[in-house]
């Protein structure tokens, strides 16, 4: 019985941590909500993307932004046809997270060749 209770209690702590924003490793902003809107609510997409891009720009390459979030901003801009804006965000992800370098190195190279 005790064994079952421990993971349950931890799950509760974890989820409430998410809700209150305490003790997080990173800033996530409205990332999750932005994805929901992008996938399911086209009528709010423009506003959600503007808010998200503003949030990511405020971090401007610094390390507290959660993994992947600079690259996602790049992809949103790429979809809008802003290649140089996309490359700028991809480079921030590339510099911050070495794990992203094989994927983004090729992408950045291809996009820069297009310009």
């Amino acid at each position: 019985m005790n064994k079952r209770l421990i993971p349950l209690a931890m799950a509760v702590v974890f989820v409430t941590g998410c809700a209150t924003g305490n003790n997080q490793l990173y800033d996530w902003g409205e990332y999750e909500q932005t994805l929901f809107v992008v996938y399911h609510e086209p009528e709010y997409k423009e506003q959600a993307l503007n808010n998200y891009l503003t949030f990511v720009r405020e971090h401007n390459g610094e390390g507290t932004l959660a993994p992947g979030l600079y690259a996602e901003a790049g992809t949103f801009l790429l979809e809008q046809g802003d290649v140089s804006g996309a490359v700028a965000f991809y480079k921030m992800e590339y510099e911050r997270w070495p794990e992203s370098q094989p994927m983004l190195g090729i992408l950045i190279e291809n996009l820069e060749a297009q310009q």
Partner: protein, 230 residues
């Protein structure tokens, strides 16, 4: 408000039923040997009809994996790049060799999630929402690192009439419009599946990743535990 959220989450957790059975002390050996840093989350496969299930499960995973100390490949960027590569359907991605996917992104591991259940049953007085997810983490060489299957259901009738309103308050506006009860339930299941095991013999959860402050401590404990059991 904080207390209300807490109460709600507790109720959801309380009805979540784990189907993990016997404890296997060796279940994380492959994970401990591989110690992956980066995880590629591919679009979940959906056994159900609700089209929102796939993207809702996908969008809620990065937070849990990132906060556990892993590098999570950007899920929407990955989805977009996979489409460039000709993978439009999650089923196609799931049937591709994991080695090939991992190599495309140079990921240490690939996380596959299958949505087995995502339903709301409308009863006379209440709606029972049920989710059931299978998780598989596969290393870049194709070997299985971790597997889990969890289900949970949420029934507002268990706690009185005000709970539907409570769920709506507990999530952000956009999520609320999309999926009032599914999202908190989905996050609860992710949190339980990805809990950090308290000991080698724990039958649930995955280790922390290298960006987590408890990483070194975790692997010291693993080493001490396995020294004892030998």
């Amino acid at each position: 408000m904080k207390e209300l959220k807490f109460a709600l989450l507790f109720i959801i957790v309380a009805v979540a039923s784990g189907c993990a059975t016997t404890s296997d002390p060796d279940r994380l050996n492959a994970f401990h040997d591989a110690q992956p840093t980066s995880i590629l989350v591919v679009p979940p496969m959906n056994d159900v009809t609700d089209v929102q299930a796939t993207t809702s499960v996908l969008a809620t995973l990065p937070y849990f994996l990132g906060e556990k100390g892993f590098y999570v490949f950007p899920v929407n960027t990955v989805k977009t790049l996979l489409e460039f590569e000709g993978y439009y359907e999650p089923a196609e991605v799931h049937s591709a060799p994991p080695e090939q996917l991992a190599n495309l992104f140079k990921a240490d591991a690939v996380l596959y999630v299958t949505i087995h259940e995502w339903t709301s049953k409308y009863m006379v007085f209440a709606t029972v929402t049920e989710v059931d997810f299978g998780y598989k983490l596969v290393a870049a060489d194709g070997s299985m690192l971790w597997e889990e299957r969890l289900q949970a259901e949420y029934s507002p009738s268990s706690g009185g009439g005000g709970l539907i309103g409570l769920v709506v308050d507990a999530v952000e506006a956009a999520v609320e419009r999309a999926n009032p009860t599914y999202i908190p339930l989905t996050k609860t299941v992710h949190a339980r599946a990805l809990v950090t095991p308290a000991a080698n013999s724990s039958n649930q959860g995955i280790p922390v990743g290298p960006y987590h402050p408890a990483y070194a401590e975790y692997y010291q404990r693993v080493a001490a535990d396995s020294a004892v059991s030998e």
